[in-house]
């Protein structure tokens, strides 16, 4: 069909896609319909580049009550309770306006969780920035952190954990991934379905403005320059409004007044009404003259595409509108009927009586384009590494402890309220966040992890390592992993190398999840993280959820008492390739990360979980960024006390030939444990033996200083307070 190419460019559709639209409809779409198609078929909403690959991820498991496809995944935790959780990216908006971008990212993921009927109880985030030596990156970090903190804190949802890494590759493309976790009773699940023909479709929350309207629209010729200057499309978050929505929605759900609900997130009213109809095999008939507007003179297109925050679309039973209104009114909110559920499975948009658009749901969703984009195997870095000059261990240790990716993130997490709701048993600073479930003996643990440097060097290994690390963090706390959510951050999928990375990452994740028995219940894909042709390192971020049957048995990473015996558990291989040591000490990005042996990983996790359950270990900490020595030092830096240690390592016990590789090499499947000498120690050794998990004695907890021998020779003796100030103060010194 012939169509103005400029029109297609503005809405970001190809000629072939336009032809498909015409074939589906049997006619040309009108201007509004074209806009609706364009947003629904955008990468963000349709997953057209990733869908064929995502199918390879394992999504089923005994405990999975809801896999991908709804607003968030649901995993059973027993006692008729379930956890609802999901991670989402807000990368592009955070680059444009870090405070609002990050804040609205938090707002969005919270809505995804409470719309399922859950009370959100924790937030986590995974952040990536360019190096902090550049003022621009410091500004982005400060803005993002205060955006997250202002939104989460106001909502009264604790931000209990996360991770941050710095790499030059994120300079013009910071990543902001946020995860929300909620708890619900099985019976209370609410789905995003527009069920019940004739039921009213109701709009609640903030008024609709022009914010967030598709960039394409902004660039069209409708606004003159001055108007553009006055009408930015930055979305502004209102956490207080969201708090009202949260409480009002949960109250309405409890009263059985909500049949189905979805938040108006990306592509706003268009996406929520189409998806809710499609899931219920019904249609939604909207009268946009009823939509509460915040600005004058908004066009139908603007109303349908607005991404104003803190808005929900819901369906109630016919006849209960007044009851619903009463609940919302109590919270100071208006609820407005803007449409009806209809039998015809279409999205129909009217303005009063006048029909403006009619599109069958399936065209917008199931029959949206799916691409098998061309792929090219990623260009790997050279392996093996060049010869490296000798290093002084103490100097290197302090430098690595001060490296922003390794150093304590206390400057960041002190800005997050992490104790509200009084469930947080293990505060930020540990491996996983641990939250008790009031009214039961249980706790859940959750950790988000990913390593772009590993994935850039070797996407498959990096992806396996990311799943393994998140799961291991949870296992260290004593929790058994029961589900995962993932956020896949990549460059432009139209480039074959990027698709190649994506494909290898998916395979690596799928492999790790299958072997470790962790189903993926939802996630998010963020492509086009690219500026001036330069893509970010491929960055899958995995959030793993674990369950602890006895909350009182949760294990922290920190050494407890002098004389406790320190062990390295696990048969993990290490490599200096792509390590923090190589980057910080030798200013090199080279080599491959160690391959993760998933059977060894499974064994060490099993050891941690069982040892915790039977109260055998006093502490457990995973070795990740920075390697074994950093992990050991971290074990000595409890929030309120310092513990020293006396260590006697060699190539055999540390699992590497050279001292640098042993102390600073990185790899999966390794955990530092401490145990009381005597019976408990013997029992731990017995348990490890029966699980086939190696356990190497490294030394004992001892007062005040780190004392380290390598193959019998003394190499380091340094007071813990010196290490503590390097580790805890580094980030604050950069950021002020």
């Amino acid at each position: 069909m012939s169509v103005d190419q400029k029109v297609l460019r503005d809405v970001n559709l190809t000629q072939e896609e336009y032809d498909t639209v015409c074939r589906q409809l049997g006619r040309q779409p009108n201007a509004l319909e074209l806009q609706i198609y364009a947003v629904m078929w955008s990468e963000h909403c349709s997953y057209k580049s990733s869908r064929v690959h995502l199918r390879r991820l394992p999504t089923r498991g005994e405990r999975v009550m809801q896999g991908p496809g709804e607003n968030a995944g649901i995993v059973d935790i027993g006692d008729a309770l379930a956890v609802v959780f999901k991670i989402e990216s807000h990368n592009h908006p955070s680059f444009i306006e870090p405070f609002q971008g990050a804040a609205t990212g938090v707002g969005g993921i919270i809505r995804d969780v409470f719309t399922m009927g859950a009370r959100p109880i924790a937030l986590l985030n995974s952040l990536r920035f360019g190096e902090l030596s550049q003022a621009q990156n410091r500004r982005l970090l400060r803005g993002v952190v205060s955006g997250i903190s202002s939104y989460g804190n106001c909502m009264g949802i604790p931000t209990t954990g996360g991770e941050i890494q710095f790499d030059e590759g994120y300079t013009a493309n910071p990543l902001v991934n946020v995860l929300c976790l909620g708890i619900l009773r099985h019976k209370a699940i609410v789905y995003a379905k527009a069920k019940g023909i004739g039921n009213p479709v109701i709009y609640v929350g903030a008024g609709t403005g022009r914010d967030g309207i598709h960039g394409a629209t902004m660039a069209s010729a409708e606004f003159n320059e001055d108007a553009q200057a006055k009408r930015p499309n930055v979305q502004v978050g209102d956490p207080f409004m969201e708090k009202l929505l949260l409480e009002a929605c949960l109250e309405a759900m409890k009263k059985g007044l909500i049949v189905g609900i979805q938040d108006m997130g990306a592509a706003g009213l268009t996406c929520s009404s189409t998806e809710m109809g499609a899931r219920a095999h019904t249609g939604v008939d909207l009268d946009i003259s009823k939509v509460p507007l915040r600005e004058d003179g908004m066009t139908p297109k603007e109303i349908m595409l607005s991404e104003s925050q803190e808005r929900m679309l819901l369906v109630t039973e016919h006849g209960r509108e007044a009851d619903l209104q009463r609940v919302f009114h109590k919270w100071g909110l208006d609820s407005v009927v803007v449409g009806r559920v209809i039998a015809e499975p279409v999205l129909r948009v009217r303005h009063g009586e006048k029909v403006l658009a009619t599109i069958p749901n399936r065209f917008l969703m199931d029959e949206a384009p799916v691409y098998e984009r061309p792929m090219k195997a990623p260009a790997y870095h050279e392996d093996p590494l060049p010869d490296l000059p000798k290093t002084n261990v103490e100097e290197a240790l302090i430098k690595v402890l001060r490296a922003p990716s390794v150093a304590s993130k206390r400057w960041v997490y002190e800005q997050y309220d992490h104790t509200v709701r009084t469930n947080t048993l293990i505060l930020p600073g540990g491996d996983a966040s641990v939250l008790r479930i009031k009214g039961t003996a249980k706790a859940v643990a959750i950790s988000v992890d990913g390593n772009g440097r590993y994935c850039a060097a070797h996407p498959g290994r990096g992806a396996r390592a990311a799943v393994a690390e998140a799961a291991r963090n949870v296992a260290c706390a004593g929790a058994r992993p029961i589900g995962a959510t993932d956020c896949l951050n990549f460059g432009n999928p139209e480039k074959p190398e990027i698709m190649g990375q994506f494909c290898e990452v998916i395979d690596g994740m799928a492999d790790a999840c299958r072997v470790l028995g962790i189903p993926i219940t939802g996630g998010n894909v963020s492509f086009y993280n690219e500026t001036s042709g330069r893509a970010i390192p491929p960055t899958p971020v995995i959030g793993v959820l674990g369950l602890i049957e006895q909350a009182a048995r949760a294990v922290t990473p920190w050494f407890k008492d002098d004389g406790d015996v320190i062990y390295l558990a696990g048969a993990g291989r290490v490599s200096l390739g792509a390590s923090e040591f190589l980057k910080t000490i030798h200013r090199l990005t080279a080599g491959w990360p160690a391959a993760c042996d998933l059977q060894a990983e499974k064994a060490v996790q099993e050891l941690c979980i069982r040892a915790a359950a039977s109260g055998l270990v006093r502490s457990a900490h995973d070795c990740s960024d920075g390697g074994l020595l950093v992990a050991l030092v971290e074990c000595g830096l409890a929030p309120e006390a310092l513990n020293g240690m006396t260590l006697d390592l060699d190539a055999e016990s540390a699992g590497a030939a050279t001292i640098d590789a042993a102390l600073f090499g990185e790899g999966s499947s390794r955990v530092v444990l401490s145990v009381r000498p005597g019976d408990e120690e013997n029992n731990l050794l017995g348990l490890a033996g029966s699980l086939g998990c190696p356990l190497k004695r490294l030394g004992i907890v001892a007062p005040n200083a780190l004392r380290l021998k390598w193959a019998g020779r003394k190499v380091v003796e340094v007071p813990m307070h010196k290490l503590s100030s390097a580790y805890f103060n580094a980030l604050g010194e950069c950021l002020g």
């Binding site: 444009i96 403005g209 930015p232 979305q235 502004v236 978050g237 209102d238 956490p239 915040r294 104003s308």
Partner: protein, 83 residues
């Protein structure tokens, strides 16, 4: 060099959501005060600048207002010389 006082007023651009203003309006409405149609909140900065002349103080204020005091994505500003 003389000291000049410049007041910079930073306000949200039209169309940008103002949660502060909304929350205040909501409470004012609840207080049964009549007639309040709209409330928008902005910021004010009172600067003291040493400069040769009033115009050069004003120019310095404008620079800082654009670079530091306001976020050009969301806000506009005006600078006023105080007597």
């Amino acid at each position: 060099m003389k000291k000049h006082k410049v007041r910079v007023i930073v306000t949200l651009k039209e169309g940008v959501l103002d949660p502060q203003g909304l929350a205040i309006k909501h409470v004012i409405d609840g207080m049964e005060k009549k007639g309040f149609e709209d409330v928008r909140q902005g910021k004010v900065f009172d600067l003291v600048i040493s400069a040769k002349s009033a115009p050069s103080a004003l120019a310095a204020a404008k620079e800082v207002a654009g670079e530091v005091l306001s976020n050009p994505l969301l806000e506009t500003f005006e600078c006023i010389m105080e007597k």
